[in-house]
Symmetry: C2
Subunit: 340 residues, 2 copies
Amino acid sequence: MATIKDVARDVGLSITTVSRALNNYDDVAETTRLRVQAVATRLDYHPNAAARSLQGSHTNTIGLVIPLALHRSYDAFWSEFIGGVAGTCARRGVDLLVSATDAPDAPDALEQGFQRLVRGHRVDGLLICDVRIADERIAYLQKCHLPFVAFGRTTGACAYSYVDVDGALGVARAMEHLLRLGHRRIAYLGVDPRFGFSHFRLAGYRTALTQARVGCDETLVRHGLAEEDIPAALAALLNLPDPPTAILAAADILALAVLRAARAMGRAVPDDLSLIAFDDTLLVQHADPSLTAIGQPNRRLGEEGMTLLLERAAAPALPPVQRLIAPTLVVRQSTAPPRP
Amino acid sequence: MATIKDVARDVGLSITTVSRALNNYDDVAETTRLRVQAVATRLDYHPNAAARSLQGSHTNTIGLVIPLALHRSYDAFWSEFIGGVAGTCARRGVDLLVSATDAPDAPDALEQGFQRLVRGHRVDGLLICDVRIADERIAYLQKCHLPFVAFGRTTGACAYSYVDVDGALGVARAMEHLLRLGHRRIAYLGVDPRFGFSHFRLAGYRTALTQARVGCDETLVRHGLAEEDIPAALAALLNLPDPPTAILAAADILALAVLRAARAMGRAVPDDLSLIAFDDTLLVQHADPSLTAIGQPNRRLGEEGMTLLLERAAAPALPPVQRLIAPTLVVRQSTAPPRP
DNA sequence: TTGTACGCGTTATCAA
DNA sequence: TTGATAACGCGTACAA
């Protein structure tokens, strides 16, 4: 592979001049620049990235930290998100280093690969995903003074940049839809609230009921659920003295499980029971009946996160930006007024 | 950030000794090694990756090239595949550089980012995805003498390493299942056969019929289809004088469209029409009736590809390995004997 | 067993 | 406008 030295020898100039010619310095004769460029092209010269980052102070590389055990690995979320991230990098000509590390609440999470990235000067900035409501990586990165953007947010107020879905707003819109239809007994089924997104969705549910002056009946709230817990949870809800007429399932997989369980129990959706899903995936769209759902723009989340990060990597002094993306409610066939 | 020089000064030894102590050379006193390690830890020293790759001849980094426009972005394929790739890298301590480039048949595909990786010495090896039946990247990489593994394969016989799904075998198993049920008129619906996977699935269909001495009726074959073409294609097939009794849809999205179109035309699956999908996604499993499908282990594909590549990056002289992964047929509710 | 000296490919500083 | 030289951090012949 040709180095700058080969080019210099071939064109009969010093290494210095070649470097400046190729980097568009303005103190080099135009004819010289042309000669140099011609030779560089002929020799198929490309600057060595390692030498560049060793000499300069930046690497032209950004790190993306994703969980090793991909939750939501069953749907298109990560495909779309990573597509957005990688596409943005490609357009800007930055390289993308992907590091899959253990879940951030694992005992030695900080010891994992992602520390290699920051301490080995591998990257100019980091986009960290799967942020938990308490996440020690935030403090660590702040201490390192490495530009970073979080996808997701902690609960504490803290001055760092993040992009996140406004889960509470999404839930609020869903609740508003149900309330307007006339529902007053609305149950909430969710996954582990230690996941940031789960936490904020649940919070949104409670807020929405309070603001609507309906009041939040905690017997209608079940979280920490997995798909297989749904039949029992639904049965318990429907056997209450004053059972819910609508259900908000804060993950698409849970919603589908509710649909199946309801059918097995002889309840029709939406006639006997309205149902809304969070996560507007193909699964939800293809269900029968198709489900009313809260959707988020996965690809755009990746794009926004990376755009924000690239700005900050270029100008680390920029103030933090905290951007909440509003989800959309898509009304389909699974919601209707409650039985009179 | 601490460099090796800081460690050397602090421990009162030369840079050389520190380097050897940390890299486990055996010509350094054990007590010295311990002292050095203690100081390195205390100073939070981590070797600079750029300096290492500049000095040595390798980068400890592997490149993954994915299409910029992710086909199959609607399902979990890329999530799972990338998860397998990234997990394997993480376990081996190699960094993963992801490059999203335009589709390989774009006019300037080779000019895209992925050339930066190979010519800028950014990586020790490359895993390229979305390989077409004719793909100029193969020849280019061979010329560069850069270790690489393809996910997917070209049609021409060529000595390079690849991992791919044995699409023909998958289809053969599906056909066998249908033939055993008694079907003789089996239609094939597929996407653009310029995609390698699509090409081999179609080939498997023809081979299976020939081997079963049923003969391949080309009027039952439609390819280059998208989801929206399905209603018309199905109508045309069912209006044939001797219509098919079973359909093999070589992509899950197509299969679901067939299911909907059949229902709209008043045909019951599987009573009037048997249906098999290729790609055993959640969508297919949750369909009603659930679909018999050919599945591939997406995560394992990523793991196998990266494992193969890491072997070759470590020992470039290793002979090429071409590994075909056998898909699995999962029989569900959408297949039954034809009406008598 | 340890230290000296050099080179990897590049850009920046300074002198010509 | 151009060139000689140093520096980035590390590994490694070779010498001590």
